[in-house]
């Protein structure tokens, strides 16, 4: 049996912004052409490096939003953060035709590799981005694994990928989406605004007996809370994969 190749070390490469679109008032998707991109798995991220003319450079990690199709682009959805020196450049300044330095794909743990287990995705705000790559990858292969997404957002206007998720819930069998609104709900929503709680994950998650693969991504406090609730509900901590991001991206 041939030994599986180790893909090798990462290095920086130049990506060109091919297109850009707003997802919400403060989140923008950059479509990047990356020559010789080796492909990526849903959940992986890239590091983006910006260098000023005076040599000052800043580097941040951004999750890949797109699923991988050979020869296809790499899409990042960037949430603007107040005073975020990199994120505000990527949302408000960079335009198609410009180039960025990029390193990746990064990560092998916070990754969905398929398999038959049901999947629970728990997202806080723009923590949805790597989980969306998983939903898209499942859609690409018409996967049958039952997928549930619980997405916590401040207001309806902050919900990323709303139109696409509505279409996928209709067209991708076995995908459910539940949103939690923490500051403002849509008209006629049956509950007042509230944070993610035990009842929501109990009702809209999977029972621990189903042995789901669980992915949680969001701000640190959100991830801590969600993981604590899931463990308290009886989920195996080893099946809960988490990715935290700070407020300074």
């Amino acid at each position: 049996m041939a030994r599986a190749a180790i893909p090798g070390r990462l290095s920086w490469r130049v990506a060109t912004v091919a297109d850009a679109r707003w997802e919400t008032a403060s989140a923008r998707t950059l479509v990047l052409d990356v020559p010789q991109w080796p492909g990526h798995l849903p959940g992986q991220h890239v590091d983006v490096r910006l260098t000023a003319p005076d040599g000052y450079s800043a580097q941040r990690s951004y999750s890949i939003a797109s699923s991988w199709r050979a020869g296809g682009p790499v899409e990042l959805t960037v949430q603007r953060v107040e005073d975020g020196e990199v994120s505000s450049y990527l949302t408000d300044v960079v335009s198609p035709g410009q180039q960025l330095e990029l390193r990746g794909p990064v990560g092998g743990w916070f990754v969905w590799r398929g398999g038959p287990a049901p999947v629970l995705l728990v997202a806080g705000g723009s923590g949805l981005v790597p989980l969306m790559a998983m939903i898209r990858a499942r859609g690409d292969v018409r996967g049958r694994q039952p997928f549930r997404l619980v997405h916590s957002v401040r207001t309806p206007q902050d919900a990323l990928y709303g139109t696409e998720l509505a279409r996928r819930v209709r067209d991708d069998p076995g995908l459910d989406v539940h949103r939690v609104y923490t500051r403002k709900t849509p008209e006629g929503w049956p509950h007042p605004p509230a944070r993610l709680g035990v009842a929501t994950l109990n009702t809209h998650g999977w029972p621990p007996d189903f042995g789901p693969d669980v992915f949680v991504c969001g701000p640190t406090a959100f991830v801590e809370t969600a993981a604590d609730i899931l463990v308290a509900l009886g989920h195996d901590p080893k099946k809960i994969r988490t990715e935290r991001f700070g407020g300074t991206a």
């Binding site: 049996m1 070390r9 990462l10 390193r103 990064v106 990560g107 935290r244 300074t248």
Partner: protein
């Protein structure tokens, strides 16, 4: 030490990936302080900063420090008893 931190070991993957040919976020680090074995992806990381400091999720001792300079990287692993690194299955080549 407060319980507030910003990132986790997933964010170390890129810098470690410049040094190692395998993904180290999937490696298991055993803390020299408390003996807890934790996936590198689950270490607590503060950043962004010129250097990254990764702490044990159990006792918050420093497990790993990484500083990237223009032409070199410094990796301080004195807080880890061991790193268990997953590899492709070994076997005869033909």
């Amino acid at each position: 030490m407060t319980s507030h931190f910003e990132l986790d070991g997933n964010a170390l993957g890129g810098d470690l990936g410049e040094i190692f040919a395998v993904d180290l976020t999937e490696a298991v680090a055993t803390c020299a302080g408390c003996g807890q074995a934790a996936m590198v992806a689950t270490l607590r990381v503060w950043g962004p900063a010129p250097g990254l400091v990764a702490r044990c999720p159990s006792c918050e001792d420093v497990v790993l420090r990484l500083v990237r300079g223009p032409e070199q990287a410094w990796l301080d692993l004195r807080g880890a008893v061991s790193l268990r690194v997953p590899l492709p299955p070994d076997g005869p080549l033909a």
